[in-house]
Symmetry: C2
Subunit: 350 residues, 2 copies
């Protein structure tokens, strides 16, 4: 079964005109008489004519669609970003094709090849936690594919990037824990190869140092799959709790790790925050309803999507090769709730 659409040829035949005339009439060309235009436009309107976008794509060598690769859309941060991406894309007549890497390098590659073979005009991507080899992305970028990175960026590829000030976000979170009396703060993070991991652990370490606490690397754990595999977070928590000097707080660097960590603590019946405080990056809108309500570092996800798309469309629609790239760095927000302090008070957010 297929769905047959009206073509310009059908209109031409029905009206006894040539396809060129019909095409020009529809595009309101000056070389077509008002009467003919009216005739064509009315017929097209009445029969619900829509130009075939595939034929247009072939002719214009552009598909008017952009590819988006994230690790998973079920993650609030990414679904919010996608909402931002779509809002800008649709307003500019672009289609958005979403693909999920599920934190797997292989799936990321497959999606990448799939999207490029589907002739996308540009790409917005946050790389998977497994990705260490950027050669394919580099090759793609080298061939002229417009790319904008967000969240997990690739330093070695020069293009537009949209991130948050992860360093400061992590610094604020760690400082908040320190100011509430915690001294042995463990960090559970993604793969050490990820840009955000480096930045966030950097902020964490700096805050500790600024408070005269030396960093104990035993307290830093890496989850290669970013928490996609529950056992991974479970293992990190187990190891941390088995330490001779147990930590008194957890700092987690991403959404899945934060909720995974809470889940793990609750399973063990460890009281949060009395026995263990918890602060993490998260964009879930359910964190306030959790037990306990989570203190989180929140990212302006929607806005990040908007900016990334605006930058990408600039790249796509630029006549000359762009050489002047920018990295937009947005501010995070620390929202203090019950998981970090027994009795939440207003917290300076600066």
């Amino acid at each position: 079964m297929k769905f047959e659409a009206l073509t310009i040829k059908d209109i031409a035949k029905a009206l006894g005109l040539s396809t060129s005339t019909v095409s020009r009439a529809l595009r309101d060309s000056y070389e077509i008489s008002p009467e003919t235009k009216k005739l064509v436009l009315e017929y097209a309107e009445k029969n619900n004519y829509h130009p075939n976008p595939i034929a247009l794509s072939l002719k214009e060598r552009r598909s008017r669609s952009i590819g988006v690769i994230v690790c998973e859309i079920a993650n609030s941060f990414f679904s919010q970003t996608i909402n931002g991406i779509e809002s800008i894309a649709y307003n500019n007549g672009y289609n958005v094709i979403i693909a999920q890497s599920r934190e797997s390098f292989d799936r990321e590659m497959i999606n990448l090849q799939y999207l490029t073979s589907r002739s996308i005009d540009g790409l917005i991507i946050s790389v998977s936690t497994e990705t260490k080899d950027f050669s394919y992305l580099k090759e793609l970028h080298g061939k002229g594919m417009p790319i904008v990175f967000f969240d997990r960026i690739v330093d070695e590829i020069e293009t537009h990037k949209v991130i948050v000030d992860s360093y400061k976000g992590a610094y604020d979170a760690t400082r908040h824990l320190l100011e509430n009396g915690h001294r042995r703060i463990a960090a559970i993070s993604n793969s050490p190869f990820l840009s955000i991991t480096k930045e966030r652990l950097g902020g964490y370490r700096a805050a500790l140092a600024d408070h005269g606490i030396s960093v104990d690397e035993d307290l830093v754990r890496y989850c290669q799959h970013g928490g996609m595999i529950p056992a991974e977070v479970e293992e990190a928590v187990t190891e941390l709790l088995a330490l001779p000097q147990k930590p008194d707080a957890f700092f987690t660097t991403s959404d899945k790790l934060t909720t995974g960590c809470l889940r793990s603590l609750k399973t063990r019946k460890i009281k949060v925050p009395q026995e263990m405080a918890l602060v993490g990056f998260s964009n879930t809108d359910l964190t306030e309803l959790l037990d306990p309500p989570l203190t989180i570092i929140k990212q302006p996800a929607f806005e990040m999507g908007e900016i990334a798309t605006t930058l990408l469309l600039q790249l796509i629609e630029s006549k000359r090769p762009v050489i002047d790239f920018e990295t937009r760095r947005l501010a995070t927000e620390l929202i203090v709730r019950g998981s970090s302090i027994g009795n939440p008070v207003l917290q300076d957010n600066s």
Copy 2:
């Protein structure tokens, strides 16, 4: 900036062959000599040739992409369904284009027109809570567009449908509340025009009736926007609590309504389940971490996506018009936690 790809014409020129020969060699036609084939295949491999899918789409009058419209991807139920859809689609060489209606009829229409103008081969849709007018969908279906409905289906359009046994899910949930001593059970649901609303409230009413309780229509509230607008749930809760005879339990028919209701109760510092029990449909994987852990009716979302896609691909790839349509009805699962009973015990799930 554009991204130039290798074409069959380039290969033909480079190898001194005609495009027809190259095309046939690539498709392993019997009329091409082994030597020529080898030559072409090696050249194509070395230069990383990929057939232009847009040109193929134009030629074959199919885009190998399917459209999916849901109210929002941030909703766990839908993101899980989409994962199921993608898994089947990608395995069959189909691309998935996702659009969000955000529970708005207007946005649903815009997306629908957008997707069809982008030449999708088929459509999987769960209609928005605002949608009462199905004429455009009917017209589309009448023109031969393969459509599969899931979750929120349209009865008047005859095609494949994938749903859960909402009636039984709601019946089980209501019975569970009744068996735990609740007598005035309020229901907060979506628009009354939605298929799932009718079924779920049907199960709710039947359970009450079977327990000798007459249904008080004052206890049934409808949220036109399905909880997308927080104030809407807030208002429903306010009205229910202001009733002369206050309810002693809430039953909610969808994810957003369930968490929205909990949020509303917590804001009022109403103790769940001591002062008010809560059971609702939800697919969020955070419900066990909430305060209190939620008793939920869970749907096999991933599987629904898989089935819907399998059925859609059958429609798309069928030579003759399909006249024999099926409605797949899957079972829900009642997961009993703290929000419905003070002291959760194992519950019969049958």
